[in-house]
Amino acid sequence: MSALLEIQGATKAFRGLVAVSDVSLSVERGEVCSVIGPNGAGKTTLFNLISGVLRPTSGRIVFDGKDMGRVPSHRFAAHGIGRTFQNLALFKHATVVENLLVGCHTSLRSGVFAGAVFFGRARREEIAAREQVEEIVEFLEIEELREKVVGTLSYGQQKRVELGRALACRPKLLLLDEMVSGMNQEETEDIARFILDIRDDYGISVLMIEHNMRIVMDISDRVHVLHFGQKIAEGAPAEIGRDDTVAAAYLGPATAKHPRRLADANR
Protein backbone atom coordinates (compact mmCIF):
# COMPACT_ATOMS: atom_id res chain seq x y z
CA MET A 1 0.00 0.00 0.00
CA SER A 2 1.28 3.47 -0.87
CA ALA A 3 1.96 6.19 1.68
CA LEU A 4 -1.06 8.09 3.00
CA LEU A 5 0.38 11.46 2.03
CA GLU A 6 2.95 11.89 -0.67
CA ILE A 7 4.29 15.35 -1.48
CA GLN A 8 6.35 15.45 -4.65
CA GLY A 9 8.53 18.47 -5.31
CA ALA A 10 6.05 21.03 -3.95
CA THR A 11 7.00 24.66 -4.47
CA LYS A 12 5.08 27.74 -3.37
CA ALA A 13 6.12 31.24 -4.32
CA PHE A 14 4.46 34.52 -3.31
CA ARG A 15 5.27 37.26 -5.80
CA GLY A 16 8.81 35.95 -6.19
CA LEU A 17 9.30 35.06 -2.54
CA VAL A 18 9.73 31.32 -2.41
CA ALA A 19 8.24 30.02 0.83
CA VAL A 20 8.42 26.33 0.03
CA SER A 21 10.91 25.10 -2.48
CA ASP A 22 10.85 21.65 -4.07
CA VAL A 23 9.84 19.82 -0.92
CA SER A 24 9.12 16.11 -1.08
CA LEU A 25 7.99 14.14 1.91
CA SER A 26 5.60 11.40 2.83
CA VAL A 27 3.51 10.30 5.76
CA GLU A 28 2.82 6.60 6.15
CA ARG A 29 -0.40 5.21 7.50
CA GLY A 30 -0.45 4.97 11.26
CA GLU A 31 2.54 7.22 11.63
CA VAL A 32 3.17 10.29 13.76
CA CYS A 33 5.43 12.63 11.82
CA SER A 34 6.85 16.00 12.77
CA VAL A 35 7.93 18.94 10.68
CA ILE A 36 10.48 21.10 12.40
CA GLY A 37 12.56 24.06 11.38
CA PRO A 38 13.37 27.60 12.46
CA ASN A 39 10.81 30.38 12.15
CA GLY A 40 10.14 31.29 8.54
CA ALA A 41 11.19 27.89 7.28
CA GLY A 42 7.92 27.49 5.41
CA LYS A 43 6.28 24.94 7.71
CA THR A 44 2.90 26.61 7.92
CA THR A 45 2.92 27.27 4.19
CA LEU A 46 3.54 23.56 3.70
CA PHE A 47 0.51 22.83 5.90
CA ASN A 48 -1.55 25.28 3.92
CA LEU A 49 -0.61 23.41 0.76
CA ILE A 50 -1.55 20.05 2.26
CA SER A 51 -4.89 21.30 3.59
CA GLY A 52 -5.81 23.09 0.40
CA VAL A 53 -5.74 26.63 1.80
CA LEU A 54 -3.03 27.41 -0.75
CA ARG A 55 -2.19 25.82 -4.06
CA PRO A 56 1.37 24.79 -4.92
CA THR A 57 3.06 26.82 -7.64
CA SER A 58 4.47 23.52 -8.87
CA GLY A 59 4.71 19.95 -7.67
CA ARG A 60 2.11 17.39 -6.66
CA ILE A 61 0.30 16.45 -3.50
CA VAL A 62 -1.04 12.93 -3.51
CA PHE A 63 -3.31 11.93 -0.66
CA ASP A 64 -4.59 8.44 -0.17
CA GLY A 65 -3.70 7.63 -3.75
CA LYS A 66 -5.45 10.70 -5.18
CA ASP A 67 -3.81 13.71 -6.78
CA MET A 68 -5.28 16.66 -4.84
CA GLY A 69 -4.36 19.20 -7.54
CA ARG A 70 -7.84 19.27 -8.98
CA VAL A 71 -9.74 18.87 -5.74
CA PRO A 72 -11.47 22.13 -4.69
CA SER A 73 -10.10 23.35 -1.39
CA HIS A 74 -13.32 22.81 0.55
CA ARG A 75 -13.28 19.14 -0.47
CA PHE A 76 -9.98 18.40 1.27
CA ALA A 77 -11.80 17.74 4.54
CA ALA A 78 -14.09 15.25 2.87
CA HIS A 79 -11.06 13.39 1.54
CA GLY A 80 -9.81 12.98 5.09
CA ILE A 81 -7.50 15.88 5.90
CA GLY A 82 -8.19 17.63 9.20
CA ARG A 83 -6.08 20.35 10.72
CA THR A 84 -5.58 22.83 13.51
CA PHE A 85 -4.13 26.28 13.11
CA GLN A 86 -1.05 27.94 14.52
CA ASN A 87 -3.00 30.95 15.78
CA LEU A 88 -6.32 29.56 16.90
CA ALA A 89 -8.94 29.66 14.18
CA LEU A 90 -12.07 28.73 16.11
CA PHE A 91 -15.57 30.07 15.55
CA LYS A 92 -15.32 32.12 18.66
CA HIS A 93 -18.93 33.28 19.00
CA ALA A 94 -20.19 29.68 18.91
CA THR A 95 -20.19 27.15 21.73
CA VAL A 96 -17.74 24.27 22.05
CA VAL A 97 -20.31 21.76 20.88
CA GLU A 98 -21.23 23.92 17.90
CA ASN A 99 -17.59 24.19 16.94
CA LEU A 100 -17.22 20.44 17.03
CA LEU A 101 -20.43 20.03 15.05
CA VAL A 102 -19.02 22.24 12.31
CA GLY A 103 -16.25 19.67 12.15
CA CYS A 104 -18.90 17.10 11.26
CA HIS A 105 -19.97 19.22 8.31
CA THR A 106 -18.81 16.93 5.54
CA SER A 107 -20.41 13.84 7.04
CA LEU A 108 -23.85 15.48 7.07
CA ARG A 109 -26.17 16.12 4.15
CA SER A 110 -29.13 18.31 5.06
CA GLY A 111 -29.62 21.57 3.16
CA VAL A 112 -31.33 24.86 3.99
CA PHE A 113 -34.85 23.57 3.59
CA ALA A 114 -34.37 20.31 5.48
CA GLY A 115 -32.63 22.26 8.22
CA ALA A 116 -35.45 24.78 8.44
CA VAL A 117 -38.03 22.02 8.83
CA PHE A 118 -35.79 19.95 11.12
CA PHE A 119 -37.80 16.81 10.81
CA GLY A 120 -37.11 13.25 9.70
CA ARG A 121 -33.70 12.71 8.17
CA ALA A 122 -32.29 16.10 9.11
CA ARG A 123 -33.17 15.46 12.73
CA ARG A 124 -31.79 11.92 12.77
CA GLU A 125 -28.62 13.21 11.18
CA GLU A 126 -28.24 15.86 13.86
CA ILE A 127 -28.68 13.27 16.57
CA ALA A 128 -26.00 11.04 15.01
CA ALA A 129 -23.62 13.99 14.70
CA ARG A 130 -24.30 14.97 18.26
CA GLU A 131 -23.48 11.43 19.42
CA GLN A 132 -20.17 11.56 17.62
CA VAL A 133 -19.38 14.93 19.15
CA GLU A 134 -20.20 13.64 22.61
CA GLU A 135 -17.72 10.87 22.07
CA ILE A 136 -14.99 13.37 21.16
CA VAL A 137 -15.92 15.56 24.11
CA GLU A 138 -15.41 12.59 26.39
CA PHE A 139 -12.19 11.57 24.70
CA LEU A 140 -10.68 15.05 25.14
CA GLU A 141 -12.07 15.38 28.65
CA ILE A 142 -13.83 18.70 28.03
CA GLU A 143 -17.29 17.72 29.28
CA GLU A 144 -17.69 20.74 31.49
CA LEU A 145 -16.93 23.14 28.61
CA ARG A 146 -19.63 21.80 26.27
CA GLU A 147 -21.99 24.77 26.24
CA LYS A 148 -19.37 27.45 26.85
CA VAL A 149 -18.85 30.06 24.16
CA VAL A 150 -15.40 29.38 22.77
CA GLY A 151 -14.24 32.98 22.94
CA THR A 152 -14.48 32.86 26.75
CA LEU A 153 -12.18 29.83 27.16
CA SER A 154 -8.49 29.82 28.06
CA TYR A 155 -5.87 29.37 25.40
CA GLY A 156 -5.12 25.78 26.37
CA GLN A 157 -8.81 24.88 26.40
CA GLN A 158 -9.31 26.47 22.99
CA LYS A 159 -6.43 24.44 21.60
CA ARG A 160 -8.09 21.31 22.84
CA VAL A 161 -11.41 22.34 21.27
CA GLU A 162 -9.64 22.93 18.01
CA LEU A 163 -8.14 19.46 18.20
CA GLY A 164 -11.63 18.11 18.81
CA ARG A 165 -13.00 20.00 15.85
CA ALA A 166 -10.32 18.54 13.59
CA LEU A 167 -11.18 15.08 14.92
CA ALA A 168 -14.85 15.61 14.20
CA CYS A 169 -13.94 15.79 10.51
CA ARG A 170 -13.10 12.08 10.82
CA PRO A 171 -9.75 12.64 9.16
CA LYS A 172 -7.32 10.04 7.95
CA LEU A 173 -4.53 12.53 8.40
CA LEU A 174 -4.45 15.11 11.15
CA LEU A 175 -2.32 18.21 10.68
CA LEU A 176 -1.41 19.87 13.99
CA ASP A 177 0.22 23.28 13.74
CA GLU A 178 2.17 24.09 16.93
CA MET A 179 -0.31 22.39 19.17
CA VAL A 180 1.53 22.81 22.46
CA SER A 181 3.08 26.25 22.08
CA GLY A 182 2.24 28.34 25.08
CA MET A 183 1.14 25.35 27.15
CA ASN A 184 2.55 24.32 30.46
CA GLN A 185 4.22 21.00 31.14
CA GLU A 186 1.04 19.25 32.25
CA GLU A 187 -1.07 20.44 29.33
CA THR A 188 1.70 19.48 26.94
CA GLU A 189 1.82 15.98 28.32
CA ASP A 190 -1.96 15.68 27.99
CA ILE A 191 -1.74 16.64 24.35
CA ALA A 192 1.07 14.17 23.73
CA ARG A 193 -1.07 11.45 25.24
CA PHE A 194 -4.04 12.48 23.07
CA ILE A 195 -1.93 12.38 19.93
CA LEU A 196 -0.74 8.87 20.63
CA ASP A 197 -4.28 7.77 21.50
CA ILE A 198 -5.58 9.33 18.29
CA ARG A 199 -3.14 7.26 16.33
CA ASP A 200 -3.60 4.06 18.30
CA ASP A 201 -7.36 4.12 19.00
CA TYR A 202 -8.66 5.84 15.86
CA GLY A 203 -5.91 4.83 13.43
CA ILE A 204 -5.41 8.42 12.34
CA SER A 205 -2.01 9.46 11.02
CA VAL A 206 -0.61 12.68 12.43
CA LEU A 207 1.65 15.28 10.91
CA MET A 208 2.63 18.04 13.29
CA ILE A 209 4.60 21.23 13.25
CA GLU A 210 6.29 21.63 16.57
CA HIS A 211 8.87 23.82 18.21
CA ASN A 212 8.80 21.89 21.44
CA MET A 213 11.62 19.44 20.80
CA ARG A 214 10.77 17.30 23.79
CA ILE A 215 7.40 16.28 22.34
CA VAL A 216 8.88 15.94 18.85
CA MET A 217 11.59 13.60 20.07
CA ASP A 218 9.24 11.68 22.36
CA ILE A 219 6.33 10.81 20.15
CA SER A 220 7.36 11.20 16.49
CA ASP A 221 8.03 8.18 14.36
CA ARG A 222 9.74 10.34 11.80
CA VAL A 223 10.91 13.95 11.60
CA HIS A 224 11.21 16.21 8.56
CA VAL A 225 13.37 19.32 8.81
CA LEU A 226 12.69 22.44 6.76
CA HIS A 227 15.07 25.35 6.41
CA PHE A 228 14.43 28.39 4.23
CA GLY A 229 11.70 26.52 2.40
CA GLN A 230 13.84 23.52 1.65
CA LYS A 231 13.86 20.12 3.21
CA ILE A 232 17.29 19.53 4.67
CA ALA A 233 16.84 16.33 6.58
CA GLU A 234 14.51 13.46 7.32
CA GLY A 235 14.73 10.55 9.68
CA ALA A 236 13.93 9.05 13.03
CA PRO A 237 14.10 11.50 15.95
CA ALA A 238 17.36 10.10 17.16
CA GLU A 239 19.05 10.49 13.77
CA ILE A 240 17.80 14.03 13.39
CA GLY A 241 19.11 14.89 16.81
CA ARG A 242 22.58 13.93 15.67
CA ASP A 243 22.40 15.59 12.26
CA ASP A 244 24.98 18.37 11.79
CA THR A 245 23.09 20.24 9.07
CA VAL A 246 20.03 20.42 11.28
CA ALA A 247 21.94 21.73 14.20
CA ALA A 248 23.62 24.26 11.93
CA ALA A 249 20.28 25.42 10.63
CA TYR A 250 18.97 25.97 14.13
CA LEU A 251 21.95 27.29 15.95
CA GLY A 252 24.36 28.48 13.32
CA PRO A 253 27.46 26.58 12.16
CA ALA A 254 29.58 27.47 15.22
CA THR A 255 27.64 25.21 17.55
CA ALA A 256 27.27 22.37 15.11
CA LYS A 257 29.76 20.37 17.13
CA HIS A 258 27.28 19.97 19.93
CA PRO A 259 24.33 18.41 18.18
CA ARG A 260 22.95 17.04 21.40
CA ARG A 261 21.90 20.49 22.41
CA LEU A 262 19.28 20.54 19.69
CA ALA A 263 16.81 18.79 21.89
CA ASP A 264 17.14 21.60 24.38
CA ALA A 265 16.96 24.39 21.84
CA ASN A 266 13.38 25.23 22.59
CA ARG A 267 13.23 24.78 26.26
Binding site: H74, R83, F85, F91, H93, V102, F118, E125, E126, R130
Partner: protein, 348 residues
Protein backbone atom coordinates in the same frame (compact mmCIF):
# COMPACT_ATOMS: atom_id res chain seq x y z
CA UNK B 1 -33.40 29.23 36.11
CA UNK B 2 -32.52 25.68 36.94
CA UNK B 3 -29.04 24.78 37.92
CA UNK B 4 -27.44 21.42 37.41
CA UNK B 5 -29.53 19.32 35.13
CA UNK B 6 -28.76 16.13 33.31
CA UNK B 7 -29.71 15.01 29.85
CA UNK B 8 -30.58 11.37 29.50
CA UNK B 9 -30.59 11.00 25.75
CA UNK B 10 -28.87 12.57 22.79
CA UNK B 11 -32.11 13.69 21.09
CA UNK B 12 -32.90 15.77 24.14
CA UNK B 13 -29.63 17.63 23.55
CA UNK B 14 -30.71 19.07 20.24
CA UNK B 15 -34.12 20.47 21.12
CA UNK B 16 -34.66 24.19 20.54
CA UNK B 17 -35.13 24.78 24.23
CA UNK B 18 -35.14 22.31 27.08
CA UNK B 19 -36.84 24.73 29.42
CA UNK B 20 -40.53 24.22 29.96
CA UNK B 21 -40.80 27.83 31.03
CA UNK B 22 -39.61 29.04 27.62
CA UNK B 23 -42.17 26.92 25.81
CA UNK B 24 -45.00 27.90 28.13
CA UNK B 25 -44.27 31.60 27.98
CA UNK B 26 -43.71 31.43 24.22
CA UNK B 27 -47.05 29.70 23.83
CA UNK B 28 -48.81 32.28 25.99
CA UNK B 29 -47.25 35.08 23.96
CA UNK B 30 -48.34 33.59 20.65
CA UNK B 31 -51.81 32.93 22.04
CA UNK B 32 -52.02 36.50 23.28
CA UNK B 33 -51.05 37.79 19.86
CA UNK B 34 -53.62 35.52 18.24
CA UNK B 35 -56.32 36.90 20.53
CA UNK B 36 -55.13 40.52 20.32
CA UNK B 37 -56.99 41.42 17.12
CA UNK B 38 -60.27 40.88 18.95
CA UNK B 39 -59.35 43.36 21.67
CA UNK B 40 -57.20 45.99 20.00
CA UNK B 41 -58.46 48.85 17.90
CA UNK B 42 -57.24 49.24 14.35
CA UNK B 43 -54.47 51.65 15.35
CA UNK B 44 -52.93 49.41 17.99
CA UNK B 45 -53.51 46.41 15.78
CA UNK B 46 -51.51 48.07 13.04
CA UNK B 47 -48.54 48.14 15.41
CA UNK B 48 -48.88 44.42 16.01
CA UNK B 49 -49.05 43.81 12.26
CA UNK B 50 -46.06 46.07 11.66
CA UNK B 51 -44.06 44.28 14.35
CA UNK B 52 -44.84 40.90 12.81
CA UNK B 53 -44.01 41.99 9.26
CA UNK B 54 -40.92 43.95 10.27
CA UNK B 55 -39.77 41.06 12.42
CA UNK B 56 -40.07 38.66 9.51
CA UNK B 57 -38.07 40.99 7.29
CA UNK B 58 -35.46 41.51 9.99
CA UNK B 59 -35.12 37.74 10.41
CA UNK B 60 -34.28 37.65 6.72
CA UNK B 61 -31.48 40.13 7.19
CA UNK B 62 -30.43 38.29 10.34
CA UNK B 63 -29.63 35.18 8.30
CA UNK B 64 -27.35 37.19 6.05
CA UNK B 65 -25.80 39.75 8.36
CA UNK B 66 -26.30 38.29 11.82
CA UNK B 67 -25.48 34.65 11.10
CA UNK B 68 -23.22 34.81 8.07
CA UNK B 69 -21.64 38.19 8.74
CA UNK B 70 -22.31 39.58 5.28
CA UNK B 71 -23.32 43.21 5.72
CA UNK B 72 -26.11 44.30 3.44
CA UNK B 73 -27.19 47.88 2.97
CA UNK B 74 -29.52 46.85 0.20
CA UNK B 75 -32.00 44.82 2.18
CA UNK B 76 -34.84 47.05 1.05
CA UNK B 77 -34.18 45.80 -2.49
CA UNK B 78 -35.28 42.30 -1.52
CA UNK B 79 -38.36 43.60 0.28
CA UNK B 80 -39.29 45.61 -2.79
CA UNK B 81 -38.74 42.64 -5.08
CA UNK B 82 -40.86 40.42 -2.86
CA UNK B 83 -43.69 42.93 -2.88
CA UNK B 84 -43.60 43.16 -6.66
CA UNK B 85 -43.17 39.41 -7.11
CA UNK B 86 -46.42 39.08 -5.18
CA UNK B 87 -48.28 41.99 -6.71
CA UNK B 88 -47.46 41.37 -10.36
CA UNK B 89 -48.88 37.85 -10.66
CA UNK B 90 -51.73 38.41 -8.21
CA UNK B 91 -52.89 41.94 -8.97
CA UNK B 92 -51.97 42.10 -12.62
CA UNK B 93 -52.56 38.58 -13.85
CA UNK B 94 -55.05 37.34 -11.30
CA UNK B 95 -52.92 34.44 -10.05
CA UNK B 96 -53.94 32.84 -6.75
CA UNK B 97 -52.32 34.53 -3.74
CA UNK B 98 -50.55 31.30 -2.77
CA UNK B 99 -48.65 31.44 -6.05
CA UNK B 100 -48.01 35.09 -5.25
CA UNK B 101 -46.40 34.26 -1.92
CA UNK B 102 -44.33 31.53 -3.51
CA UNK B 103 -43.06 33.91 -6.14
CA UNK B 104 -42.52 36.57 -3.45
CA UNK B 105 -39.98 34.21 -1.94
CA UNK B 106 -38.53 32.61 -5.04
CA UNK B 107 -38.02 35.68 -7.22
CA UNK B 108 -35.90 37.59 -4.69
CA UNK B 109 -34.00 34.37 -3.96
CA UNK B 110 -33.16 34.00 -7.65
CA UNK B 111 -32.25 37.66 -8.02
CA UNK B 112 -30.08 37.33 -4.92
CA UNK B 113 -27.88 34.98 -6.92
CA UNK B 114 -27.31 37.81 -9.37
CA UNK B 115 -26.43 40.04 -6.42
CA UNK B 116 -24.56 37.33 -4.58
CA UNK B 117 -22.25 35.98 -7.26
CA UNK B 118 -20.32 39.18 -7.85
CA UNK B 119 -20.34 39.77 -4.12
CA UNK B 120 -18.56 36.51 -3.34
CA UNK B 121 -15.16 37.96 -3.88
CA UNK B 122 -15.92 41.09 -1.93
CA UNK B 123 -15.51 41.58 1.76
CA UNK B 124 -16.87 43.83 4.43
CA UNK B 125 -17.40 47.39 3.31
CA UNK B 126 -16.95 46.67 -0.37
CA UNK B 127 -19.74 44.12 -0.12
CA UNK B 128 -21.95 46.50 1.85
CA UNK B 129 -21.58 49.15 -0.81
CA UNK B 130 -22.25 46.71 -3.62
CA UNK B 131 -25.51 45.66 -2.00
CA UNK B 132 -26.38 49.34 -1.69
CA UNK B 133 -25.71 49.79 -5.38
CA UNK B 134 -27.86 46.78 -6.18
CA UNK B 135 -30.77 48.15 -4.22
CA UNK B 136 -30.65 51.30 -6.34
CA UNK B 137 -30.41 49.32 -9.53
CA UNK B 138 -33.28 47.04 -8.53
CA UNK B 139 -35.59 49.98 -7.98
CA UNK B 140 -34.50 51.44 -11.30
CA UNK B 141 -35.20 48.19 -13.11
CA UNK B 142 -38.60 47.86 -11.44
CA UNK B 143 -39.48 51.39 -12.49
CA UNK B 144 -38.31 50.96 -16.05
CA UNK B 145 -40.12 47.65 -16.60
CA UNK B 146 -43.44 49.42 -16.55
CA UNK B 147 -45.08 46.94 -18.95
CA UNK B 148 -44.81 44.43 -16.12
CA UNK B 149 -44.72 46.50 -12.97
CA UNK B 150 -46.86 49.50 -13.94
CA UNK B 151 -43.72 51.56 -13.34
CA UNK B 152 -44.19 54.55 -11.13
CA UNK B 153 -47.96 54.13 -11.05
CA UNK B 154 -47.58 51.16 -8.73
CA UNK B 155 -49.92 48.24 -8.28
CA UNK B 156 -52.92 48.21 -5.97
CA UNK B 157 -53.05 45.00 -3.93
CA UNK B 158 -56.05 43.47 -2.24
CA UNK B 159 -56.00 41.42 0.94
CA UNK B 160 -55.65 37.80 -0.14
CA UNK B 161 -57.79 34.73 0.20
CA UNK B 162 -55.68 31.70 1.03
CA UNK B 163 -56.76 28.06 1.35
CA UNK B 164 -60.35 29.18 1.46
CA UNK B 165 -59.76 31.66 4.27
CA UNK B 166 -60.47 35.30 3.55
CA UNK B 167 -57.84 37.60 5.08
CA UNK B 168 -59.74 40.75 4.22
CA UNK B 169 -60.35 41.93 7.78
CA UNK B 170 -57.55 43.47 9.84
CA UNK B 171 -57.89 40.73 12.43
CA UNK B 172 -57.51 37.96 9.90
CA UNK B 173 -54.62 39.71 8.23
CA UNK B 174 -52.90 40.00 11.59
CA UNK B 175 -53.35 36.25 11.99
CA UNK B 176 -51.77 35.65 8.62
CA UNK B 177 -48.80 37.80 9.61
CA UNK B 178 -48.57 35.98 12.92
CA UNK B 179 -48.47 32.58 11.24
CA UNK B 180 -45.81 33.72 8.79
CA UNK B 181 -43.72 35.37 11.51
CA UNK B 182 -43.85 32.38 13.85
CA UNK B 183 -43.11 29.96 11.01
CA UNK B 184 -40.17 32.10 9.95
CA UNK B 185 -38.89 32.29 13.48
CA UNK B 186 -38.95 28.51 13.81
CA UNK B 187 -37.37 28.03 10.41
CA UNK B 188 -34.53 30.39 11.31
CA UNK B 189 -34.02 28.76 14.72
CA UNK B 190 -33.97 25.35 13.07
CA UNK B 191 -31.53 26.45 10.42
CA UNK B 192 -29.28 27.74 13.17
CA UNK B 193 -29.18 24.42 14.97
CA UNK B 194 -28.57 22.43 11.81
CA UNK B 195 -25.66 21.92 9.48
CA UNK B 196 -26.32 24.92 7.23
CA UNK B 197 -26.73 27.37 10.08
CA UNK B 198 -23.49 26.24 11.71
CA UNK B 199 -21.77 26.64 8.36
CA UNK B 200 -23.10 30.23 8.18
CA UNK B 201 -21.64 31.02 11.57
CA UNK B 202 -18.38 29.33 10.61
CA UNK B 203 -18.14 31.50 7.48
CA UNK B 204 -18.78 34.57 9.63
CA UNK B 205 -16.32 33.79 12.40
CA UNK B 206 -13.43 32.36 10.43
CA UNK B 207 -13.75 31.71 6.75
CA UNK B 208 -10.42 29.95 6.30
CA UNK B 209 -11.06 27.53 9.12
CA UNK B 210 -14.56 27.01 7.73
CA UNK B 211 -13.13 26.01 4.38
CA UNK B 212 -10.74 23.62 6.07
CA UNK B 213 -13.74 22.01 7.76
CA UNK B 214 -15.13 21.27 4.32
CA UNK B 215 -17.44 24.26 3.94
CA UNK B 216 -17.70 25.63 0.43
CA UNK B 217 -17.56 29.35 1.16
CA UNK B 218 -19.07 30.48 -2.12
CA UNK B 219 -21.92 28.02 -1.93
CA UNK B 220 -22.78 28.93 1.64
CA UNK B 221 -22.57 32.67 1.08
CA UNK B 222 -24.95 32.22 -1.83
CA UNK B 223 -27.21 30.06 0.31
CA UNK B 224 -27.24 32.77 2.96
CA UNK B 225 -28.11 35.33 0.31
CA UNK B 226 -30.90 33.18 -1.06
CA UNK B 227 -32.39 32.24 2.29
CA UNK B 228 -32.27 35.84 3.40
CA UNK B 229 -33.82 37.08 0.17
CA UNK B 230 -36.54 34.44 0.34
CA UNK B 231 -37.61 35.40 3.84
CA UNK B 232 -37.33 39.12 3.15
CA UNK B 233 -39.31 38.71 -0.03
CA UNK B 234 -42.20 37.16 1.88
CA UNK B 235 -42.04 40.02 4.38
CA UNK B 236 -42.01 42.46 1.47
CA UNK B 237 -45.16 40.86 0.05
CA UNK B 238 -46.91 41.15 3.41
CA UNK B 239 -45.83 44.77 3.67
CA UNK B 240 -47.15 45.45 0.19
CA UNK B 241 -50.49 43.93 1.15
CA UNK B 242 -50.50 45.98 4.33
CA UNK B 243 -49.92 49.16 2.30
CA UNK B 244 -52.57 47.89 -0.12
CA UNK B 245 -50.36 49.42 -2.72
CA UNK B 246 -46.99 48.33 -4.08
CA UNK B 247 -44.73 51.04 -5.43
CA UNK B 248 -41.06 51.89 -5.26
CA UNK B 249 -41.95 54.88 -3.09
CA UNK B 250 -43.39 52.62 -0.41
CA UNK B 251 -39.96 51.09 0.20
CA UNK B 252 -37.62 53.95 1.07
CA UNK B 253 -33.89 53.39 1.60
CA UNK B 254 -34.36 54.08 5.29
CA UNK B 255 -35.87 50.60 5.60
CA UNK B 256 -32.44 49.07 5.03
CA UNK B 257 -31.09 51.14 7.89
CA UNK B 258 -34.07 50.27 10.05
CA UNK B 259 -33.44 46.57 9.50
CA UNK B 260 -29.78 46.92 10.47
CA UNK B 261 -30.80 49.00 13.46
CA UNK B 262 -33.06 46.19 14.61
CA UNK B 263 -30.21 43.69 14.48
CA UNK B 264 -27.85 45.98 16.35
CA UNK B 265 -30.30 47.07 19.00
CA UNK B 266 -31.38 43.48 19.54
CA UNK B 267 -27.86 42.09 19.59
CA UNK B 268 -26.10 41.11 16.39
CA UNK B 269 -26.21 37.39 15.71
CA UNK B 270 -28.97 36.58 18.15
CA UNK B 271 -32.39 35.47 16.98
CA UNK B 272 -34.04 36.45 20.25
CA UNK B 273 -32.38 39.80 19.72
CA UNK B 274 -34.14 40.21 16.38
CA UNK B 275 -37.47 39.80 18.14
CA UNK B 276 -36.62 42.25 20.91
CA UNK B 277 -35.04 44.72 18.48
CA UNK B 278 -38.09 44.67 16.23
CA UNK B 279 -40.45 45.43 19.09
CA UNK B 280 -38.31 48.31 20.29
CA UNK B 281 -37.70 49.89 16.89
CA UNK B 282 -41.32 49.64 15.74
CA UNK B 283 -42.68 51.00 19.00
CA UNK B 284 -39.98 53.65 19.43
CA UNK B 285 -41.97 56.50 17.83
CA UNK B 286 -45.04 55.68 19.90
CA UNK B 287 -42.99 55.42 23.08
CA UNK B 288 -41.37 58.74 22.22
CA UNK B 289 -44.76 60.27 21.60
CA UNK B 290 -46.00 59.18 24.99
CA UNK B 291 -42.77 60.27 26.68
CA UNK B 292 -43.02 63.69 25.07
CA UNK B 293 -46.66 63.84 26.07
CA UNK B 294 -45.48 63.63 29.66
CA UNK B 295 -43.46 66.78 29.13
CA UNK B 296 -46.63 68.71 28.49
CA UNK B 297 -48.74 69.82 25.54
CA UNK B 298 -45.96 72.01 24.12
CA UNK B 299 -43.64 69.06 23.62
CA UNK B 300 -46.44 66.92 22.29
CA UNK B 301 -47.24 69.60 19.76
CA UNK B 302 -43.62 69.63 18.68
CA UNK B 303 -43.83 65.91 18.19
CA UNK B 304 -46.87 66.14 15.98
CA UNK B 305 -45.23 68.69 13.70
CA UNK B 306 -41.73 67.25 13.72
CA UNK B 307 -42.58 63.63 14.35
CA UNK B 308 -40.77 62.24 11.38
CA UNK B 309 -37.59 64.15 12.10
CA UNK B 310 -37.58 63.41 15.80
CA UNK B 311 -38.24 59.79 15.04
CA UNK B 312 -35.25 59.51 12.76
CA UNK B 313 -33.06 61.38 15.21
CA UNK B 314 -34.20 58.89 17.84
CA UNK B 315 -33.28 55.97 15.58
CA UNK B 316 -29.85 57.38 15.13
CA UNK B 317 -29.36 58.03 18.81
CA UNK B 318 -30.61 54.62 19.84
CA UNK B 319 -28.26 52.93 17.38
CA UNK B 320 -25.27 54.95 18.53
CA UNK B 321 -26.05 54.47 22.21
CA UNK B 322 -26.41 50.73 21.83
CA UNK B 323 -23.24 50.37 19.80
CA UNK B 324 -21.39 52.48 22.29
CA UNK B 325 -22.71 51.22 25.61
CA UNK B 326 -24.33 47.85 24.98
CA UNK B 327 -22.87 46.18 21.90
CA UNK B 328 -24.53 42.92 22.94
CA UNK B 329 -27.85 44.63 22.42
CA UNK B 330 -31.13 44.01 24.20
CA UNK B 331 -30.30 40.32 24.43
CA UNK B 332 -27.28 41.20 26.54
CA UNK B 333 -29.42 43.36 28.79
CA UNK B 334 -31.96 40.58 29.04
CA UNK B 335 -29.30 38.06 30.10
CA UNK B 336 -27.95 40.42 32.72
CA UNK B 337 -31.41 41.02 34.12
CA UNK B 338 -32.11 37.30 34.18
CA UNK B 339 -28.83 36.57 35.96
CA UNK B 340 -29.56 39.29 38.47
CA UNK B 341 -33.03 37.88 39.06
CA UNK B 342 -31.82 34.34 39.60
CA UNK B 343 -28.83 35.13 41.73
CA UNK B 344 -30.10 38.02 43.79
CA UNK B 345 -28.95 38.94 46.35
CA UNK B 346 -25.74 37.11 45.49
CA UNK B 347 -23.44 38.60 42.94
CA UNK B 348 -22.87 35.60 40.76
Amino acid sequence: MRSGHYKESVPSLIVLSDSTAVWVWGGILVLAMAMAPYFLNAYLLSFLVLILITGTGALGLHVLTGCTGLISLGHVGFLLLGAYAYAVPVAKFGAPPLIGFLSAGVVPALVSIVVGVPSLRLKGLYLAITTLAFAFIISHVVLSMSWLTNGARGLPVMRPELLGIDFESDARFAHLCLVVAVATLFAVLNIQRSRVGRAFVAVRDNDIAARTMGINLQAYKLRAFMTSAFISGIAGALFGIYLSFVSVEGFPFLMSIEALAILIVGGLGSTAGVVLGTVLIVLLPEVARIALGMLGPQAEMLFSTAAHELRTVLYGLVIILFLRFEPRGLVGVWRDVKRLWVNWPLRH
